[in-house]
Amino acid sequence: MASRPRTRLHVPQPPARPGDKADFSYLKLQPAGKQPRPDVKVSAQATLPLATGIVRVLDDEHRAVGAWDPTLEPEVMQMGLRHMLLTRIFDERMQRTQRQGRISFYMRSYGEEAVSVAQAMALRPGDMLFPSYRNQGLYMVRGRPLVDLMCQLLSNTRDMCKGRQLPVMYHWRDGNIFSISGNLATQFPQAVGWAMAAAIKGEDHVAATWIGEGSSAESDFHAGMVFAEVYQAPVLLNIVNNQWAISTFQGFAGGEKSTFAARGPGYGVAGIRVDGNDFLAVHAVTQWAAERARKGGGPTLIEHVTYRASAHSTSDDPSRYRPKDEYEHWPLGDPVERLKQHLITLGEWSQERHAALEQELDGHVAESWREAARFGTLNEGPRLDPDLMFEDVFKELPEHLVHQREQLRAERS
């Protein structure tokens, strides 16, 4: 007797767990240069092929090919390489610092540097950025002194957050980078509101925001998409699909049956899937989306296909849930290495210059750390005044907080 069809609970399974052979065949990649580059005013629905395909510019021979080649000047690419490398070296040193017990927590962006760096470079300084917690490259491009970032990580006397935030939850009003929440996805619809205000005021600034593929499951994502579509807000909505949300793979956020970018046209929002480890492709797609937004064409949802090469954070051990060597099999390579090889192919870079740059940046990071540590570390040096705890809850200190501050002072005297 034939078996009756039954309901079935599907539990997505990653292609590989510890001990398995890495397998990225689910990515359905295409060679570089294949995607057409439509006019920026194309309808959202017409972007569906871009949302299900993948925009790539750098090919396997490190050449820039196809309609999406942004034809950047060598100096711009060298600057991009510098920012990515600085991000990586900064991350490595801060990771070590955490292991030495001098900061409490850290999150690296290893392997994802092109997303933040290429995007920040493709946008204008007046554009407002609403980052998640793995976008430190934005700060490198916009030029926040490393000492300031380090003092935040240290929660020391020069901490921009006055000791109130976990490490990496930076903010920078003058650099137009919004405060990182620590709660996931909340910044996504906020960026839409910022962009709506820019349009209300008739300015041509755009907003950009980043969310992980994992946290795109939050209802904040849906609200952001709906408001962005309804008001045609000038905003770049980025999903950084780095394949892993701590231990759950991207299939658990809805990536099994569809790409994340394909959600865009479903909402009436342009969608593009891009090789997130390809500096040139990310730069080109960002420019396209920013121009679309500035010309009144509305929002774009961009999915960056990348890989979280490091642990989620210093509190995480990925060897417990994915193959140890998975990154070695990642088909889109390393963003720093790919841009470096491209520049070498062009005759605009060399191993020697690269080594010299690494040394220079390493020295800069080390020197910055020495300066930052002078303002205090977790265990040594000057401490922030605990009185600061009561400030900025409200603009002015209300009576009950005045009393509580007095209580704490009495306790400490």
């Binding site: 407002m128 609403f130 921009m160 957050c161 006055k162 109130r164 935030q165 939850m169 903010h171 920078w172 009003r173 919004f178 405060s179 929440s181 620590g182 709660n183 909340t186 996504f188 619809p189 906020q190 960026a191 839409v192 509101g193 910022w194 962009a195 709506m196 205000a197 820019a198 209300i200 005021k201 907003a207 209802s219 904040d220 849906h222 609200a223 952001g224 709906v226 408001f227 309804v230 400030e391 900025d392 809850v393 409200f394 603009k395 209300p398 009576e399 009950h400």
Partner: protein, 338 residues
């Protein structure tokens, strides 16, 4: 001076602020073309345009989140949540984002957002159109919580809220929109035109946030209340012929403890009345504060009356509502204890 009901007074507050400050925007479900389900934003879109008074998708999360983004970009959003009962999809954005943005960014970013929302029962709204959620906001550090009880205060407090650089949850007791309701649903409705609180200046003025008001001075007992219950409490005290001092708290956070405690020290007796559920309600905070600060002047245990600790039932609205009789009984208990 004009005669206004509370809806007109709130409308006038937004009208004044839209006119004075080009950064003020009004947004919410049905607030634009239609003018709001309670007509509170009637005519504002016609007057100020679709870019200043915006209809929104049905997403309280989206309304709060985009308001935060707009505020960070220099606007002063006045968001309407159609019923306070609907505010919870936006709760995370209020609690984790709006309330803490100034704090977490050490003052670099802040979001002067006012969230208006009709609250309270007495309009046959059942359990999803009758709640009074002031306590779930009172515990959140970084937002102010306001609830007016008459048109004059409603307009002055709303203007103060919009001008305030901190976020404000502005709760509007909807049973008071059209008149001062004393808790007796059988009596003919009384319009605001016969109440002194219905006299409202047409232009700009503010009622300060964080200031309670003694609405009726007295010496026998202090009744502390806010919203609809201010009127019910007054009527209950009158029915007993008591010389009660009735205080309208007006601002839940930051609380004006000084006005409350000065009164209780003088009268020696205190009844706290609110419409929200009693258990862990805001009355508990009021009671604890008064006990701590007025213990040696108290002649009786503090009375505390709220709605029953059940959802607000549709068919038993007036059995649920803490009406005059229940308030009077609680008052008698406070007066008889010695």
């Amino acid at each position: 001076m004009a005669r206004m009901n509370m809806i007109q007074a709130l409308n006038s507050a937004m009208d004044v602020m839209l006119g004075r400050d080009p950064g003020v925007v009004v947004l919410g479900e049905d607030v634009g073309y239609f003018g709001g389900v309670f007509r509170t934003t009637d005519g504002l879109q016609r007057k100020y345009g679709e870019h200043r008074v915006l209809d929104t998708p049905i997403s309280e999360l989206g309304i709060v989140a985009t308001s935060i983004g707009m505020a960070v970009n220099g606007l002063r959003p006045v968001a309407e949540i159609q019923f306070a009962d609907y505010i919870y999809p936006g709760y995370d954005q209020i609690v984790s984002e709006l309330a803490r943005l100034r704090y977490r960014s050490a003052g670099e970013f802040f979001a002067p957002v006012t969230i208006r929302t009709p609250c309270g029962g007495g309009i046959r709204g059942g359990q999803t159109h009758s709640q009074s959620p002031e306590a779930v906001f009172a515990q959140i550090c970084g937002i102010k919580v306001v609830m007016p009880s008459n048109p004059y205060d409603a307009k002055g407090l709303l203007i103060a809220a919009i001008e305030d650089d901190d976020p404000v949850i502005f709760l509007e007791p909807k049973r008071l929109y059209n008149g001062p309701f004393d808790g007796d649903p059988e009596k003919p409705a009384v319009p605001w035109s016969v109440h002194p609180g219905g006299e409202v200046p047409e232009g700009h003025y503010t009622v300060p946030i964080s200031k309670a008001q003694i609405v009726r001075p007295g010496g026998d007992v202090t009744i502390i209340s806010y919203g609809t219950m201010v009127h019910v409490a007054q009527a209950a005290a009158q029915s007993l012929g008591l010389d009660a001092e009735v205080i309208d708290v007006r601002t839940i956070v930051p609380l004006d403890t000084q006005t409350l405690c000065e009164s209780v020290r003088r009268t020696g007796r205190c009844l706290i009345v609110h419409e929200a559920t009693r258990f862990a309600g805001f009355g508990a905070e009021l009671s604890a504060t008064i006990q701590e600060q007025c213990f040696w002047q108290l002649q009786a245990p503090i009375g505390r009356l709220g709605g029953w600790d059940t959802p607000y039932p549709h068919a038993f609205e007036w059995e649920y509502f803490p009406g005059q009789r229940r308030v009077a009984k609680a008052l008698e208990a406070v007066m008889s204890a010695s």
